[in-house]
Symmetry: C2
Subunit: 433 residues, 2 copies
């Protein structure tokens, strides 16, 4: 059966999946947890094959770390599945309960989105997380993982799928795409797929956004900023900045640009550069930054950069730097060059902080803490399917809440609109919830 | 100044508009109400010109009714503006307030979407409604109304804009597009426009959806169903059906298809056809429907139709009709041929109703009432900018709630991720809200 036909069948099963009781969805999560443990050896064996191929292909060590699926990751996965069972049902929540008129009751009730396509990087633990979030939220899912872990993905998917069927959920509720060519097939299924969540490189996500009519949730770039205000505790600022840049530079919530308030620039910049240098990171900056740091010892030379490079996401131990005139210019810079992901101010001034958090147009606006906190786990969502920089539907880290929509249920007793249109009757709203 | 440049400037003003206090936004609404009344004569004079052109062009009477802007519509508009002032602020609502760890507090707070483009049909009252909803929700808006009321729109817009400026809101927060060619310019502003809401014909909305990278909210079709179950009160069913089809056939929440349960088809269909005929509506149907109604007196002949015509939106006194085997087949038909707008079941059976409301994948699922209730005013939202059949963000009638997004505010005291990543510290979630 081809991909499009399978996805069309999935669409037909989506209402049954959406109607499945919470107990059954939680049972599926528990059976997956048990099956992961029972099948650990065959999963690890498959992963060994992927790791061997990666080593042979000369894949970088940092990337190899992501490809690996070992005891620790399996334990985390099982732990995550148990936590997910404890979370309240995202489906069936009554968001509004209103009597429009005597005996005519309107309810807005959450329900699953339907069919979700997730295209994710080569990280076997992501497959477990994403499929379990979709199951908990009553959605059907088409999963396409990175090809570097194809063997691991295949075994994991089979284990998960068997557990889901054993729990009595529709067999068609999960589907794995294995071929790269199937991505383009998936992008054409706009009649049957309700939402696409692409993860991976900017270029890849941009490609997905540009080649489908299916709504896309995610982010193509993560250009996060740290602005150090004139009223900052400078030691705190160095600590936050160094964490935001160097704690894990390859991820989207790592900071890419340092903005420093002019009155403190001469004093703060050397401290910042040294703090970064200690963790192996260097600055690129405007002429002003280059001049301010010229002759400083113990730091790498600052490379001169142009204004249009301020939208660069390095994903590495490099950081753009600029001196600005106060919080207003910082906000303008961030709204212009940023990616609306997560941006932080370090300041002791409530006014500056409030202005920054109000005016920066990003999913996350932080005061006196590292941008690296922008993460579904850290926010306490149990897990995340991705981070959205769009403003519609979910914004920021997307957990279970972002995987549901709602429908309006209206119950009457033969009510018709004509007498309201004529003015004979009128609505008498009463909140019941 | 060209359109794109104006929209870019609007984008730069959006954060200030978003930060405007509720009192100022409400003040703008009140000033608009007063200005509408003060300028009534010049507004009516402009409308007379549009009405004269329409009469000259031979525009249908039903359409002319929509173009007219008279005392009654002005009064309704002023009334709506006063009601809107009473509604709670959609901006700044705290949706989540959680301590992640000692002194590290996360809040999810609603905020305006930013810049919204609304392209709407020739209906001057819509211009008032849409601009006031955008103002109340702190959004900037680009408004493009139908050209048949260009004179009325121009005067109304000037009146509204002057009031907004008088209230102290940014002058660039509202912009009117007057030329049809500006629609294509607007569609290309994906860097600056956050959301498009197109209203109008299916074909037009489809064109918008296919020609922009800006997220679009709305609906291209309204194929609503009434399913009359075997356990229906048949008199109630006729009443609901006739209202759903004939009370205002040109609108999207009017019913287009009647589905009748087989056990009651022979008894119910003649009653339905007569009820519709009394209001000037006729049926088209499958061979079974044609046969069941053959020889019935007092009803128009039933035209035979093909299966693929069941996705037709007539917008007229015509209705598709089919006999189905129970609620399951009805649901399958609706999910296949419908437009996910609003669908109703008439039944006394709780089981059938619950199955229908759970399984039909539409924004509105109704029991024993007319599909014509699907409307922001009737739901008590104050007004609506449109009705969405998409599942992301807002679904169904979109009022103030659909015009906001949220951002995450995280406040710490120098908190960094490193000690959490190493296991030295761990999160201690505590709900504060």
């Amino acid at each position: 059966m081809d991909m499009r036909e399978s996805i069309h069948r999935m669409k037909l099963e989506a209402p049954a999946m959406a109607a499945s009781p919470l107990e059954q969805r939680n049972r599926a999560l528990e059976l997956i947890a048990q099956a992961l443990e029972a099948n650990a050896q065959s999963i690890f064996a498959a992963n060994e094959k992927d790791m061997a191929s990666a080593a042979e292909a000369g894949v970088a060590q940092t990337v190899q770390k992501r490809l690996r699926y070992d005891e620790a990751k399996l334990r985390d996965g099982v732990e995550g599945l148990r936590q997910l069972q404890e979370l309240p049902d995202p489906v069936g929540r009554v968001l509004l309960d209103r009597e429009l008129d005597q005996g005519l009751e309107l309810r807005r009730v959450t329900c699953p989105i339907g069919v979700i396509g997730v295209i994710f990087e080569a990280r076997p633990d992501a497959l477990v997380q994403i499929s379990s979030l979709c199951i908990k939220s009553g959605n059907c899912a088409v999963l396409k993982g990175g090809r570097e872990t194809a063997n691991t993905n295949r075994v994991l998917f089979d284990v998960i799928h068997a557990a889901v069927v054993k729990a009595g959920l529709p067999a068609g509720c999960l589907l794995q795409a294995e071929l790269h060519s199937q991505i383009d097939e998936l992008l054409r299924c706009d009649e049957d797929v309700d939402l696409l969540i692409p993860r991976g490189s900017n270029k890849f996500v941009r490609y997905i956004m540009d080649h489908t009519k299916i709504p896309v949730m995610g982010h193509s770039a993560g250009v996060c900023h740290v602005f150090v205000d004139r009223d900052a505790d400078q030691d705190m600022a160095v600590r936050v900045l160094v964490d935001a840049k160097t704690q894990y530079p390859a991820v989207c919530n790592a900071a890419e640009t340092l903005l420093v308030d002019r009155p403190i620039a001469a004093e703060f910049l050397p401290k910042a550069a040294r703090g970064l240098a200690e963790r192996g990171a260097r600055l690129r900056g405007t002429q002003e930054v280059v001049d301010l740091l010229a002759g400083e010892e113990g730091i790498p030379a600052v490379e001169l950069m142009t204004d249009d490079e301020f939208c660069t996401e390095y994903g590495d131990y490099v950081m753009s730097c600029k001196v600005v005139d106060g919080v207003r210019e910082a906000v303008d810079h961030i709204n212009r060059y940023g990616s609306h992901h997560t941006d932080a101010i370090v300041t002791a001034s409530d006014d500056a902080a409030e202005y920054f958090m109000q005016m920066v147009d990003s999913a996350g606006v932080y005061r006196n803490c590292s941008t690296r906190f922008a993460d579904g786990f850290r926010y306490g969502f149990g897990a995340e399917v991705g981070i959205s920089t769009g403003k519609l539907h979910a914004r920021g880290p997307v957990g279970l809440d972002g995987l549901v929509t709602y429908k309006y249920r209206l119950v009457g007793h033969g009510d018709i609109v004509a007498p309201y249109a004529s003015g004979e009757k009128s609505f008498h709203y009463r909140e019941l919830g």
